[in-house]
């Protein structure tokens, strides 16, 4: 198929950036290609012409590392439900389509170059408390603590988050509530995470706020965009947990 793509090009964080149109480079695209393989082809053609290829992040290309991050026709990770950009295939498009490709847009995720953004703010949130404080070597036998299947499954549902940031990109307020709440739901659901529950909730929410992410106004665009289908209910749980922890502190 032949396509027209408009790609956000931005030299560095200071550059204003803008869309560039490519048509010649997007001819003869196979429907079996992944979306990123289509961009690989475009990049090869740009390079051969002596132009700078489009910079974009990707690594595992099997939907688990969370590196790839682009807004395709206004939707983070593109049109398919529960699918990262790297797993999106060109079958989703047809001959003659026009595709707009942009980076995640959020104050807390500054653009580094073209489609690549800096997501360190997510690491900062985890560093604030997204862990269980236990040193290596002191763990009891794993079966000495029984954890019901439902509890473990529910923690796993939340732990499936890949930290890609699509939730932030989808949110009109650039909120990181789904990301933060998913980590809290994973840790706070498990008995191992209980002792630090209140402190963890307060610290991570605090770190999220100071990183420059917006607040939640219950649009739940995050849930719709999440490639791992993390439920928006974790946000409600986080709000409850936060209120409880705040009272407890007083």
């Amino acid at each position: 198929m032949n396509l027209t793509i408009y790609v956000w090009r931005q030299k560095d964080a200071k550059d204003a950036g803008g869309f560039e149109k490519y048509t010649d480079e997007c001819k003869g695209i196979s429907e079996h290609m992944s979306f990123l393989e289509m961009l690989d082809v475009v990049n090869d053609r740009l390079t051969e012409k002596g132009k700078m290829p489009i910079a974009f992040d990707s690594d595992c290309r099997e939907g688990i590392c969370g590196t790839c991050s682009m807004v395709i026709n206004g939707r983070p990770h593109g049109p398919w439900k529960a699918t990262t950009t790297c797993q999106l295939h060109m079958r989703a498009f047809k001959d003659g389509d026009v595709i707009y490709i942009e980076p995640w847009r959020s104050k807390a995720f500054p653009v580094i170059q073209d489609l690549i953004v800096d997501r360190k703010a997510f690491d900062t949130i985890i560093q604030a408390g997204g862990y269980i404080s236990t040193n290596c070597g002191s763990a009891p036998d794993a079966n000495s603590m029984l954890i019901g299947k439902e509890v473990s499954d529910s923690a796993m549902d939340a732990a499936a988050c890949i930290g890609c940031g699509a939730c932030v990109a989808a949110c009109p307020n650039s909120s990181a509530m789904l990301f933060t709440a998913a980590k809290l739901a994973h840790m706070n659901t498990l008995p191992q995470g209980k002792p630090e529950e209140a402190q963890r909730t307060l610290s991570m929410v605090g770190a999220m706020d100071s990183a420059g992410f917006g607040n939640c106004s219950n649009h739940l665009e995050c849930e719709a965009a999440c490639p791992k289908e993390i439920s928006g209910q974790v946000i409600a749980a986080m709000n409850r947990g936060y209120a409880k922890a705040s009272f407890g502190k007083r």
């Binding site: 290609m33 390079t47 290309r61 360190k120 290596c136 794993a142």
Partner: protein, 638 residues
């Protein structure tokens, strides 16, 4: 080259205890005076960095990804082995040890493997304490599944995302140490050079991939946990960024490289669909628990839809040839048999390089919901990539490069031939011999990082002076200069071909001549083709842009330049190893049934290569492998 493995005295089950007792210790006040550099933040590097920081060392950890949470350990699907015997089905440390040595086709070091089996139990405890949500039974105990190469159920898992969950556990611990100021994390940094001072590892030179800045980092020890080199084949299940640069640069600085020809071809991957393909996607080996592998008996049926081929016309070749293990034979055996039936012309799908993995029987026996529960996310992934629904039609799979058992040589203490440089995880060579069993990579990475290096590193550092090392030393300046010159050279060539086109061509040479099956003529021709391609690369590669900004073409150029040298070393190793062993299958050495035939008299050793200069042939050394506990025998899974 000194290849003393420093295996501790005593009976095999007491060696590690004896070693730990004899190790010198660093007192807590002195630990903070030692600076440790960790290259890589996957299961091995991340767990080492966090654990060493917990002990009180100053740690600097480097990764090329934008966050340590994205290291490629994250992509491991199926599970992690541990000799817990929670199922009471006859498992033990000794049995895991035995299975691993046998599975490795008797080319690994017994003492290391035994220790791996011993600490495997602690890993599950540690990961659980860190909040890893392993699968559970209704009663609340941990669940297990079975995996290839074993007849007990010892694999722990978290749906099809075990690597992700274990890595997030490691990342959580690492994040805690970063917050505490015990670990300084350098993301989007790539190691370009190892620096040695007076014969000891003294630091590294890195490139900041955002600013392009070349920087030196000094340390009293360098820990390499930079993963494997499967991307030398271009197409593999590795992540796009996985590369050999860190380990290859260390090799060029004097570290022995062991068994580079041992590569693992994973039997269950989605077949290649076209020239544009950038990577191959693995379908977890756990699928072989319930999926049945088959091809049509007759070539004429290959073009038909699978539903049109009668049961009697199907050849479940693994069940037929290996009744004891059936579809659960080890990876090398499963891969080779898939190639065999496709070479006979009985392969399915476009191009004829695929076999069916069929779940119809499992869905009939267990019901669709149970199958969904076990493999739902994998089935969804398959459907997204191929457009086929595996609930109603069998998957098509074909083997693909997945893991590399070879790596930098290390002794029992995980120290390389360069004093002060330790190597962990897939980057070293020690535990898997010529073939790795499924669910053992996660086990080894975490064993090395959580439970081995924290002890062995102290033993090394106790004999070192904690005085700060200065990056103004001539060795650092020289290394920085050579990195800068190399970058300038890439940018100045201004040829006609993209970096990827060279990488693809190298990959094809490697796959055709040094892939699933190898022979003398093919390997010799690769030894001609690779240097010619390398020559062209340095004349005709096109790297646009500058070195002073983020430049992905430049990053790739550096990695591919190293692959172009490393590939030759791999081929040389495959040529010299004139036997078949595990993942290394030399067509000249096979039984009438097509099984690998080892030559224990001449090749029961690790081949360790020593770099002798760009224009000289590297020298092959040997570390003999002796087997006191697991008797050398022909592997049989019949």
């Amino acid at each position: 080259m000194n290849l003393d493995a420093h295996i501790p005295e005593g009976p095999i089950d007491q060696k590690w205890e004896n070693a730990k007792f004899k190790f010198k210790l660093v007192n807590p006040a002195n630990k903070r005076k030692f600076d440790i550099i960790v290259v890589g933040s996957g299961l091995a590097g991340g767990s080492a960095a966090a654990t060493l920081a917990e002990l009180g060392y100053n740690v600097a950890c480097f990764c090329y990804q934008d966050s340590p949470r994205r290291a490629h350990s994250i992509a491991a699907q199926g599970g992690i082995n541990a000799a817990k015997n929670y199922q009471g089905d006859g498992d033990s440390v000794y049995r895991l040890f035995y299975d691993t040595v046998k599975g490795g086709d008797f080319r690994s070091r017994e003492a290391n493997v035994y220790r791996l089996a011993q600490v495997s139990r602690n890993i599950i405890d540690q990961a659980t304490a860190m909040g890893v949500p392993f699968a559970r039974e209704y009663g609340g105990t941990l669940a297990n599944r079975s995996f290839g190469g074993a007849q007990v159920s010892r694999t722990f898992y978290a749906r099809g995302q075990t690597g992700q969950q274990l890595l997030l556990g490691v990342y959580a611990g690492l994040s805690r140490q970063i917050k505490a100021g015990r670990v300084t994390m350098f993301t989007r940094h790539e190691m370009l050079e190892l620096v040695t001072v007076e014969g000891r590892a003294a630091g590294i030179v890195t490139r900041d991939m955002v600013s392009g800045k070349i920087e030196s980092h000094a340390g009293h020890s360098v820990i390499m946990a930079s993963g494997g080199y499967g991307n030398v084949f271009y197409l593999s299940t590795n992540a796009m960024g996985c590369n050999v640069t860190a380990t290859y640069r260390a090799y060029k600085k004097g570290a022995g490289f062991a068994n580079p020809c041992y590569t693992q071809i994973h039997p269950t991957c989605i077949p290649v669909s076209g020239d544009y393909q950038s990577k191959l996607t693995l379908m977890s080996e756990s699928l072989r628990n319930d999926g049945r592998v088959w091809v049509p008996k007759k070539k004429e049926d290959c073009g038909k839809k699978p539903s049109q081929i009668a049961e009697a016309d199907r050849d479940y070749y693994l069940e037929r040839k290996y009744p004891a293990f059936g579809n659960l034979v080890p990876r090398d055996v499963a891969s080779r048999n898939a190639k065999l039936v496709c070479d006979e012309g009985r392969g399915v799908g476009p191009g004829g390089y695929g076999v069916y993995l069929d779940f119809a029987e499992a869905i009939g026996r267990l019901g669709r919901p149970a199958v969904e529960g076990r493999y739902g996310n994998l089935f969804d992934m398959y459907q997204r990539i191929t457009g086929d629904d595996p609930y109603s039609t069998p998957m098509r799979i074909y083997p693909a490069v997945h893991y590399t058992m070879g790596g930098l040589w290390v002794d029992y203490n995980l120290q390389s031939t360069i004093p002060g440089m330790f190597v962990l995880g897939e980057a070293n060579f020690s535990d898997h011999g010529a073939n790795r069993l499924g669910a053992s990579a996660l086990m080894q990475g975490l064993a090395d990082g959580y439970f081995v290096i924290p002890y062995t590193l102290g033993n090394y550092l106790a004999g070192q002076n904690p005085k700060k090392i200065d990056t103004d030393h001539a060795a650092f300046k020289e290394a920085e200069k050579s990195c800068k010159e190399r970058i300038d050279t890439f940018l100045a060539i201004d040829g006609k071909r993209t970096v990827d086109s060279f990488h693809k061509e190298l990959g094809k040479i490697m796959w055709d001549h040094c892939g699933m099956a190898r022979n003398e003529a093919g390997l010799k021709s690769a030894l001609e083709l690779i240097p010619a391609l390398r020559e062209e690369f340095w004349q005709n590669v096109k790297v646009p842009g500058s070195g002073a900004t983020l430049n992905q073409s430049l990053e790739k150029a550096g990695r591919v330049a190293d692959f172009l040298e490393f590939g030759e070393l791999m081929v040389r190793d495959a040529l010299e190893r004139d036997e078949s062993a595990g993942g290394h299958f030399r067509e000249e050495h096979q039984s009438p049934e097509g099984e690998a035939v080892r030559d224990d008299e001449n090749f029961a050793h690790a081949a360790v290569w020593e770099y002798k200069g760009d224009n000289a042939t590297p020298v092959r050394h040997k570390e003999p492998m002796t087997f006191e506990h697991v008797k050398l025998a022909t592997r049989s899974y019949k």
